[in-house]
């Protein structure tokens, strides 16, 4: 017979009292572990979400950057250089001869870096009759991009190879044309290299062919009637300077601002990026708010549960002391010291703390793991804090013993003569 055996046998005998004590410790330990683990789950989830959002944002920004390049191509250009006296309408006018300028101008412009113009695209555009189909179309001869010296950027527009044609939406839809087919235009055969999607503008009735072939078909060799010059993401207030520089470089031309849409799109892109950043920031703030709420909840719940458990253990120990008055009197009569009696009750409370802590820690982990079953298991693995579990298992018996201290002390100080005299 030893003290541990005595305590264990008494626990087995008074299961309800011990079970209730274990339950209270388990509830407190469970709350603590669950709350702490959930906070850690929240942190890990936040890290993961924000990392994903940041990666998403980076991808979006890259996509926007690429889109912007394409937008610039589709919109046309920041500026359009036309022969002096010509207007944009003249490009699609078949009633009077077009105003022209030398194709050489495109090379002059490309070789003399003007401000921040990054792309130079010479074109020859003319509204013409498609004699084989008895309908009017816009013919655009394109050379592709005249590369600017030392330019490192990707070309915006690939040249249409000689003998090939790109067909606008309305044309290929109404004529039932397919890519790879051959069509005859002004007596010459062209292989359809691409069918354009619907644009809702004059592009839908446009045929794009190689610039030199267009010059030959229209009888305008070495001539163009527009240069599309791009300045990426330019600002409108710089247009006057660009215009002055081009005027000096290319006499007999005029510069039309063609950038408002592009700028709008650029601004939209910047706004989208700003919104994405703001959204990320908002997400961060939202997560921080949610964490603060959880923390505040834990900050009052855990002390309340711990206090309730301590009071409950003290009460149960008090009841146990009352039930065991005769035993205390006998043990003292047998020569058991007051400190040993104290140890019996403290040991019992510590045992309830240990068992409760193990059950509570397991239950707390279980609850935390099942709180949001949609989360990946990896987050839970990262959130589990073995140090916390160990601390709970170690400190719970100590706290339970502390809670039982006063009633245990009362037990130890009971007068055995008084108890034995009462019978």
């Amino acid at each position: 017979m030893n003290w541990a055996r005595l305590i264990l046998r008494e626990i087995a005998f008074r299961k309800l009292n011990f079970g209730l004590a274990v339950l209270s410790v388990a509830a407190a330990a469970g709350c603590l572990v669950a709350q702490y683990t959930l906070l850690r789950v929240h942190d890990k989830q936040t890290e993961r979400l924000l990392a994903a959002r940041e990666a998403e944002l980076r991808q979006m920004m890259a996509r926007l950057q690429d889109d912007y390049r394409k937008i610039m191509l589709k919109l046309g250009f920041n500026i359009m250089i036309l022969p002096a006296g010509a207007s944009l309408n003249d490009l699609h006018n078949d009633e009077q001869p077009p105003a022209l300028m030398p194709e050489e101008y495109a090379h002059v412009l490309a070789s003399n870096r003007v401000m921040t113009i990054n792309h130079v695209l010479p074109t020859l555009t003319r509204k013409v009759k498609w004699p084989e189909q008895q309908r009017k179309v816009i013919l655009m001869g394109v050379k592709g991009e005249v590369l600017i010296q030392s330019a490192t950027q990707k070309p915006l527009l690939e040249a249409v190879p000689a003998g090939h044609v790109v067909v606008g939406y309305e044309l290929h839809q109404s004529l039932g044309l397919k890519a790879g087919q051959t069509l005859v235009f002004m007596g010459r055969n062209f292989t359809i290299s691409k069918l354009m999607e619907e644009k809702g503008n004059t592009d839908d009735i446009t045929l794009w062919i190689n610039l030199h072939e267009a010059q030959q078909l229209l009888g305008m060799p070495g001539q163009i009637n527009a240069i599309l010059a791009l300045e990426c993401n330019c600002e409108a207030d710089r247009l006057a300077k660009i215009r002055a520089e081009i005027g000096a470089l290319l006499p007999g031309t005029r510069v039309i601002e063609f950038a408002s849409q592009a700028i709008t799109r650029a601004e939209a892109r910047n706004r989208a990026a700003a919104q994405a950043l703001a959204s990320l920031q908002h997400e961060k703030e939202g997560r921080a708010r949610l964490r603060a709420q959880q923390e505040a909840f834990a900050a009052w719940l855990i002390p309340v549960v711990l206090s309730a458990a301590a009071v409950w253990i003290a009460l149960l120990t008090w009841l146990n002391v009352r039930d065991r008055r005769g035993e205390i009197g006998l043990l003292r009569a047998l020569g058991v010291r007051a400190g040993q009696v104290l140890g019996v009750f403290i040991g019992r409370a510590a045992a309830s703390g240990l068992v409760g802590a193990v059950i509570g820690a397991a239950a707390g982990v279980w609850v935390a793991l099942r709180w949001d079953s949609g989360l990946p298991a990896e987050i839970y693995r990262q959130a589990l804090d073995m140090g916390l579990l160990a601390a709970v298992v170690v400190t719970s018996p100590l706290l339970a013993a502390a809670a039982a201290w006063v009633p245990a002390l009362v037990a130890a100080r009971q007068d055995p003569a008084h108890i034995l005299r009462e019978g």
């Binding site: 017979m1 030893n2 003290w3 055996r5 005595l6 046998r9 008494e10 087995a12 005998f13 008074r14 005769g326 035993e327 009197g329 006998l330 043990l331 003292r332 009569a333 047998l334 020569g335 058991v336 010291r337 007051a338 400190g339 040993q340 055995p416 003569a417 034995l420 005299r421 019978g423």
Partner: protein, 221 residues
């Protein structure tokens, strides 16, 4: 072995003072079986608890084996009790969650000994309880309970055995059995003080004293 000199004990209650023991002197030698008889409330239990070092008298002195237990520290007094005194009570005070054998072994808690199990089994066999070693007190008859308590009291072979109404809850046969055991222990050299109102005790004790209103009145044997 036990010397009580003019001990007095007064309880202060809401109803006033109760003079439980008044200037009682008593000496019990080794091998002597002394019975103190008297009605309920006469101060017998107070006398016994005082003699056992559990209840400090207001006046007078207690000496056991030449030692004044109340001169010792509480811890020293507890150790002294474990080494020198055995108690048997009317209510048995068996621990309900321990078996018969474990109840006897409870005496080894404050004073462990290497042969504890053998010693406990020997005593239980001697008292006719060898078939009950693993039973809980709830499965025992009152006589068996008291014999278990007696085995526990005799575990360390204490020089002084104090018994408070040990036959109070027993039938005649069991009561006689317990009294004979106490007398037998005295024959082996132990000093036995029995407080009881059982008239049978007088026939087995070496001395039988009457107690009334806190005073030892006379020796009736």
């Amino acid at each position: 072995m036990l010397v009580l000199e003019k001990i007095s004990k007064t309880y202060r209650t809401a109803q006033g003072e109760v003079r439980a023991v008044q200037e009682v002197s008593l000496e019990i030698k080794r091998g002597e079986f002394v019975a103190v008889r008297g009605p309920s409330g006469s101060g017998k239990t107070t006398l016994l608890l005082t003699a056992g070092g559990l209840l400090r008298p207001d006046n007078g002195s207690v000496r056991i084996n030449g030692v004044e237990p109340f001169a010792l520290s509480p811890e020293g007094r507890a150790r002294f009790r474990a080494e020198h005194i055995g108690f048997v009570f009317q209510q048995f005070h068996l621990l309900p969650y321990l078996t018969v054998l474990e109840n006897v072994l409870a005496a080894a808690l404050p004073r462990p000994r290497a042969d504890a199990v053998d010693r406990a089994k020997f005593l239980l066999e001697k008292l006719g309880l060898s078939a009950r070693l693993e039973h809980l007190p709830s499965a025992l008859s009152t006589g068996e309970k008291q014999r278990t308590a007696l085995a526990r009291a005799l575990f360390h072979e204490p020089p002084l055995l104090l018994a408070d109404e040990p036959t109070g809850n027993l039938d005649e046969a069991n009561g006689r059995n317990v009294l004979e055991s106490l007398a037998g222990y005295a024959k082996q050299g132990g000093a036995v003080l029995l407080v009881t109102h059982d008239p049978r005790a007088a026939s087995l004790a070496h001395r039988s004293l009457m107690m009334e209103s806190g005073r030892l009145l006379q020796a009736d044997k």
